[in-house]
């Protein structure tokens, strides 16, 4: 029976979604007319036996919302939101101009939890919450943000974010990422570090870890017949993969399509910019790496070529597609190349290296100085903090649709949700020496970021590009895992480079969790359970580019309800928060308040205290465990809101 209810709810979601999506989602394909309607007859037929008349239920839902909105105690009229920076100017000007209803500012409790999670991936502690709520300083939110950015925890959280993008697997490359995040190395110089690195052993220069993912697609089966046999590595395929990765991450452009064939005739209905690009232009972009070689060393131990000791140098013959001896020339994972030799030319402007300039150094100079580098980065961070990016996903920029002064032909529209704001943030980022800290702080300090999720009017999908309310997002895998350990005060014992750490985010990547090795002190590792939890929250293994997260699924619920990683932390024993609280002399109310603060980062309401107290009677221990379990399994815990 419950399943049917689920289907019903899910179906009604679909009904309502269709109308919205037709309007907003596929601007690319259809003229901006009325949205396509659901075929009523077909839908009813498909869902016979579940309910009689779906149309009425949808209307009923809308009516109920309006009734309840009227019945609930009002927040009062939504006060005019103070403008704190240029982001607020852009957002609220537009909202006011188009008379869009919007949320009020978040409460301190909402803000503190959200800011802590976004900046550091961690929940605020109960003491910190009490302290923050009691502070009277009108600048306290800005000061909180300043205190979070640049900490060790900040570096862990954002190193994981970039690690997913870079597909980091090795600790050395992870430490490289973490270091530049901590010290706020200018992002253009980070790019330079990555594209110009070379070394005898790729593990010794951490930035070269960037190339590991790309080389997967380029390596043929290793055969230890000859230690000098470079034939088994396809250098041009490798160079192409690297170029695609760079385009995705640093320019927000997916060059994979025209890395195989001209865009015209293939992406015309998908992306105007890509449709205008040719394979020759891709080869020219890839040619910046034309002299780069990755030479795998031979390992006497495994009697085979080994990834562990690759040389990266610039002794290659250029991007010559007719003969790449001694490397394998024929394309393995792309269509055959045309036999020509290509010279480097930047994909967006045609700029070439200066005479005598090392092409990789030229790329390090040319690419970040183009505004698209800043736009792509601004978009990446905006979408992470605001949940909805200017362009989604991050690598889907259509450069022919981002200039309102040069709009694309009908029926295409302008692509980003707010072009002016995106450009303003990009310029500001560039003007501040490509500082990632500054970029994050500027967004977080805006009141646009600090709006509440509560929305008292009737929400319409068309309001989304206005950023008129805070959107919720599902916690990421490591956030969910670490929040669980934090809320229950029972840290993990994980290992990286011989050190024991207590948070998943302190590892180099998801592979670092381990599969069940006991820890140094002999306690059984929770690796299997933690990995299952993270996978349920759509943590990728980093083998392929990361799919969009922010999805809920029943697997998350099953694991949160039944996994020993959760249940061992819900038990009232000396190692858990529940156990410690019960063993103290605290009253029921105090215990309940502490559990709420530790997991939901807010105080319980009167009715919640009452309900929890009832649950703790007559069996206080079992009741407290059940309350803790219920808190951890609430949407409020598993969402960043």
């Amino acid at each position: 029976m419950r399943f049917l209810k689920v289907s019903l709810v899910g179906l009604l979601t679909s009904v309502l979604s269709v109308a919205m999506l037709g309007q907003v989602a596929n601007q690319k394909k259809e003229p901006q007319k009325t949205p396509p309607t659901m075929n009523q007859e077909r839908m009813e037929k498909a869902h016979e036996g579940i309910f009689a008349n779906p149309g009425n239920k949808a209307a009923e839902a809308g009516k109920l919302t309006a009734e309840v909105a009227k019945a609930l105690p009002a927040n009062g009229p939504v006060a005019k939101i103070p403008r704190k920076n240029f982001i607020d100017d852009q957002i609220f000007n537009r909202i006011e101009k188009d008379r869009i209803p919007h949320s009020p500012l978040s409460t301190d409790e909402e803000f503190l939890r959200r800011a802590s999670l976004d900046a550091t991936g961690l929940l605020p502690t109960p003491d910190r919450i009490r302290e923050f709520l009691a502070e009277k300083d009108p600048q306290k939110r800005d000061k909180l943000i300043d205190s979070l950015i640049g900490t060790e925890e900040f570096a862990d959280q954002w190193a994981w974010f970039w690690g997913d993008l870079f597909r980091t697997r090795e600790p050395q490359f992870h430490y490289f990422t973490r270091s530049w995040l901590k010290v706020d190395r200018p992002y253009n110089e980070v790019f330079g570090d990555i594209v110009t690195a070379n070394a005898k052993s790729h593990i010794m220069i951490p930035a070269l870890g960037f190339y590991r993912g790309a080389s997967y697609n380029a390596t043929r089966a290793p055969s230890p017949t000859d230690a000098d046999n470079y034939y088994l590595f396809n250098r041009l395929d490798f160079i192409d993969e690297v170029s695609v990765d760079i385009g995705r991450i640093f320019l927000g452009i997916n060059m994979d399509c025209f890395s195989c064939h001209d865009g015209e005739g293939h992406t015309d209905s998908i992306n105007l910019f890509l449709a205008s690009k040719t394979r020759a232009e891709f080869h020219q972009q890839a040619a910046f790496f034309g002299n780069m070689r990755r030479v795998a060393g031979y390992s006497d131990r495994v009697l085979n070529v080994s990834d562990g000791n690759s040389i990266i140098d610039d002794l290659g013959p250029g991007y010559k597609t007719n003969d790449d001896a001694p490397f394998h020339t024929e394309a393995d994972n792309r269509f055959p190349r045309d036999g020509r030799t290509y010279q480097p030319s930047f994909i967006l402007t045609g700029e070439k290296p200066k005479p005598g300039e090392n092409p990789r150094k030229a790329l390090a100079r040319i690419l970040p100085s183009h505004i698209q580098f800043s736009r792509a980065t601004a978009n990446l961070i905006w979408s992470k903090l605001m949940v909805v990016g200017f362009v989604e996903p991050y690598d889907a920029f259509d450069l022919k649709r981002i200039d309102p002064k040069n709009p694309p032909p009908k029926p295409w529209g302008i692509q980003p949700t707010n072009v002016e704001l995106m450009n303003a943030i990009a310029e500001d980022f560039k003007a501040h020496n490509y500082s990632i800290h500054h970029l994050i702080k500027t967004i977080m300090k805006s009141n646009a970021y600090q709006l509440s999720t509560q929305f008292d009017a009737e929400w319409k999908d068309a309001y989304a590009p206005y950023y008129a309310r805070r959107m919720v997002r599902v916690l990421t895998g490591p956030e969910a895992a670490d929040a669980l350990a934090q809320a229950t005060d029972r840290p993990y014992r994980l290992q990286i480079q011989g050190q024991t750490v207590s948070q998943v985010k302190q590892l180099a990547g998801p592979n670092g969790v381990g599969r069940g090795r006991p820890t140094a002190d002999g306690l059984p590792s929770e690796g299997v359970g933690i990995t299952a939890l993270m996978q349920a929250f759509f943590q990728s293994t980093r083998e392929t580019p990361v799919p969009s997260g922010n999805k809920a699924s029943p697997v998350q619920a099953m694991i949160m309800m039944a996994s020993p990683v959760v249940n061992s932390r819900v038990k009232a024993d000396p190692s858990t928060r529940v156990g410690k609280l019960l063993a103290s002399n605290k009253s029921d109310e105090d215990v309940i308040e502490e559990l709420f603060l530790a997991s939901l980062s807010r105080r319980p309401t009167g009715p919640e205290i009452q309900a929890a107290k009832e649950l703790m009677t007559p069996d206080r221990k079992r009741g407290a465990e059940n309350v803790e379990w219920a808190l951890l399994n609430s949407a409020e815990f598993l969402l960043n809101h």
Binding site: R2, M38, Q535, T605, Q610
Partner: protein
């Protein structure tokens, strides 16, 4: 098991959530509901298996000693090869229990892969298509496609998800999600090393779960986040929690794990075997699951060195024995477990498919191993509508070349065609495509023109297995 009738209909609260949703996330997800699926209307799926179990042997099993036996100078001399039929020779050393499963089996010896590297190969196996990084974000595991297609056949009593997997979380590419299909079609992945404890334990059991569920509902009823909804993600959570609770609360679920007896553990032995025992129980429960993907994770078959050396910790003697025990006991158990259809056993309704991502080199290398090889490899099929004893395709004297594709096309079959065969067996039209994808690029169930090379994939099942 089922509660009151009034639980069937959404409560006011559910409707509130519906009305109060913030849709932006679904807008941004790019997932469009409903998906615009159309068929080329040329296929006639056979619908001759109610269930399918797919067993992946990642790392790649060696054909020339196992299922496409060839006597060469490199063949070990202790294989005790037995003639099963004029076309089929199997090693008694490697597969001591072959008599339990070989008579039912058919083989496709002309398989071909475009990949030579594990992760792209295993990606191909799990998704049924070659990797295209440009759209990888939206490509589903083929199990999710099955779940989406068979959703309409689910019954009121079904609680288990249509698609489940075993050990994919430990595989090299991980458990690939539902891609452009809704997240609810993501399979539930079971780790055989952990689930017996997680879901089969007597840790309070059903009573505790229901007590806690009641506590959750009581707390939710007064929660401000419920009264004034946070957004559609919160509502999705509510819906998924109900689904998850229904599964956990269904006594058949726990039974799947508690019915893996000590005797089973002795018979099945390895984690692959335990995974097969779990699969057997899932199908016997008949609680909604139709497709199970078992991965012999992480990658035990990749014997580049000392492939037939018993002194090495990992070699083909070990892996073949694990596989043999797993398949023989699975087949025996399915053959003796009645299905819900009168007069039939589960084996009559379950197609079992076993495959790797590519083959192994026809010649041994200088460390007595076999490297990767893509030109020929063999997959195994049995049960359901598969006609036993078919040998489709033929290779030359050392498996280096395919000399007869064995089916009606001149191209060798790929993993894509193996997936089409599974779709067909389950009654799914493999020529379908989804047009309104997030990227704009159509998702064809079988990708006939993949990147990489100039080959096309025949848009066809391997029909010769069934006739």
């Amino acid at each position: 098991m089922r509660k009151n009738l009034h639980d069937m209909f959404p409560t006011r609260r559910d409707m509130l959530k519906l009305g109060g949703m913030a849709f932006a996330t679904s807008w941004m997800d790019g997932f469009v509901s409903p998906l615009k699926v159309s068929a080329a209307a040329k296929a006639n799926p056979r619908n001759n298996a109610k269930f399918v179990i797919f067993i992946e042997l990642p790392g790649a099993i060696s054909p020339m000693e196992c299922w496409d036996f060839k006597q060469t100078k490199d063949t070990p001399n202790d294989l005790e090869v037995q003639k099963v039929t004029s076309d089929l020779y199997l090693s008694k050393t490697l597969f001591p229990n072959y008599a339990d499963w070989a008579p039912r089996a058919s083989f496709v010896r002309s398989m071909r892969a475009p990949e030579l590297v594990h992760f792209t190969g295993q990606y191909h196996t799990q998704t049924g298509r070659a990797l295209n990084v440009a759209v990888a974000k939206e490509i589903p595991g083929f199990g999710s496609v099955i779940a989406a297609e068979l959703d309409k056949t689910r019954r009121e009593t079904d609680t288990f998800p249509t698609y489940m997997s075993v050990a994919l979380g430990k595989a090299r590419v991980g458990a690939i999600g539902s891609g452009l299909f809704p997240p609810k079609y993501t399979g539930i992945d079971l780790d055989p090393g952990a689930v017996l404890e997680v879901f089969g334990s007597n840790d309070g059991g059903k009573a505790l779960l229901e007590e806690r569920w009641a506590a959750l509902r009581k707390m939710s009823a007064v929660s401000p986040a419920e009264l004034r909804p946070l957004g559609d993600k919160a509502s999705e959570f509510g819906a998924f929690y109900r689904t998850a609770f229904n599964i956990l609360d269904d006594p058949r679920w726990k039974e799947v794990f508690t019915s893996v007896t000590e005797e089973d553990k002795k018979k099945y032995v390895s984690e692959l075997g335990i995974g097969c025992a779990i699969a057997r129980n899932i199908l016997a429960a008949d609680a909604g699951t139709r497709f199970i993907y078992i991965c012999d994770a992480p990658q035990p078959w990749d014997h580049h060195s000392f492939i037939f050396d018993r002194t090495r910790p990992n070699n083909h003697y070990n892996t073949c024995l694990n596989l043999d025990r797993a398949i023989s006991n699975l087949v025996k158990d399915l053959a003796t477990t009645p299905s819900k259809t009168p007069g039939k056993m589960l084996i009559d309704e379950t197609m079992v498919v076993v495959s790797s991502e590519f083959g192994r080199m026809p010649y041994m290398n200088n460390v007595y191993g076999r490297d990767h090889y893509k030109e020929t490899y063999t997959s195994l099929f049995l049960g359901g509508g598969v006609k036993p004893g078919r040998i489709i395709g033929k290779t030359n004297e050392d498996c280096s070349k395919c000399i007869d594709t064995g089916w009606k096309h001149s191209e060798q079959p790929n993993m894509d065609n193996l997936v089409a065969t599974i779709y067909s067996a389950l009654g799914i039209d493999w020529t379908k495509r989804v047009d309104n994808t997030p990227s704009g690029r159509a998702y064809e169930y079988i990708q006939t023109a993949p990147i990489g090379g100039s080959e096309f994939i025949s848009n066809d099942e391997i029909a010769e297995l069934f006739v």
